[in-house]
Amino acid sequence: EAGVAQSPRYKIIEKRQSVAFWCNPISGHATLYWYQQILGQGPKLLIQFQNNGVVDDSQLPKDRFSAERLKGVDSTLKIQPAKLEDSAVYLCASSPHVLAGDTQYFGPGTRLTVL
């Protein structure tokens, strides 16, 4: 079974530029998550989709971050404009359902550096 795919793996941009990350979850997984992991910290949930609908975006900075999951499969996360504090690893994860206790499977992440 193929795992969660993410691209690009690394991205370096200047502040105020825009950037987009892509995620393809495990086939058949209904739920998709985007996390932000700042160096030295645990991942923090940004947004959660079930199929193509948003079920939790309470921690997404909506003035600069946006995400979509068209057709309930792959997803993109965009930052526009980027700030220095957005430097982090952005992790995508998926799970079969949205049940408590469902294991989340993580992708390799995209390491973003904002200069």
């Binding site: 030295g40 991942p43 206790g101 294991t103 993580f106």
Partner: protein, 116 residues
């Protein structure tokens, strides 16, 4: 709100020895799950072990076991016969269901170094 605390930023253990990583958590929910995830250097996060809060029996996966103390809200991970490949960041995480969403809250992690 849910919180997860890992009080050991770094730990070191010799190969073949046993090490225990600590985790405490706080939640007002009665139905929840606890996880330990491993994040090797420059590699993706993978599940180590999972515990249902309603089960009293501690979960075990090969060399990995947990000590789940529900009343104390403690969830420690024991790694027996440590191997060099166990070198990684270990994250404790609390998973609850809130309405239509499920929320996974992570601790700040413990960096484990296994040495020869």
């Amino acid at each position: 709100a849910q919180t997860v605390t890992q009080s050991q930023p770094e730990m070191s253990v010799q190969e073949a020895e046993t090490v225990t990583l600590s985790c405490t958590y706080d939640t007002s929910e009665s139905n929840y799950y606890l996880f330990w995830y491993k994040q090797p250097p420059s590699r993706q996060m993978i599940l180590v072990i999972r515990q249902e809060a309603y089960k009293q029996q501690n979960a075990t996966e090969n060399r990995f076991s947990v000590n789940f103390q529900k009343a104390a809200k403690s969830f420690s991970l024991k790694i027996s016969d440590s191997q060099l490949g166990d070198t990684a960041m270990y994250f404790c995480a609390l998973h609850i269901r809130t309405g239509t969403a499920s929320k996974l809250t992570f601790g700040t992690g413990t960096r484990l170094q296994v040495t020869l």
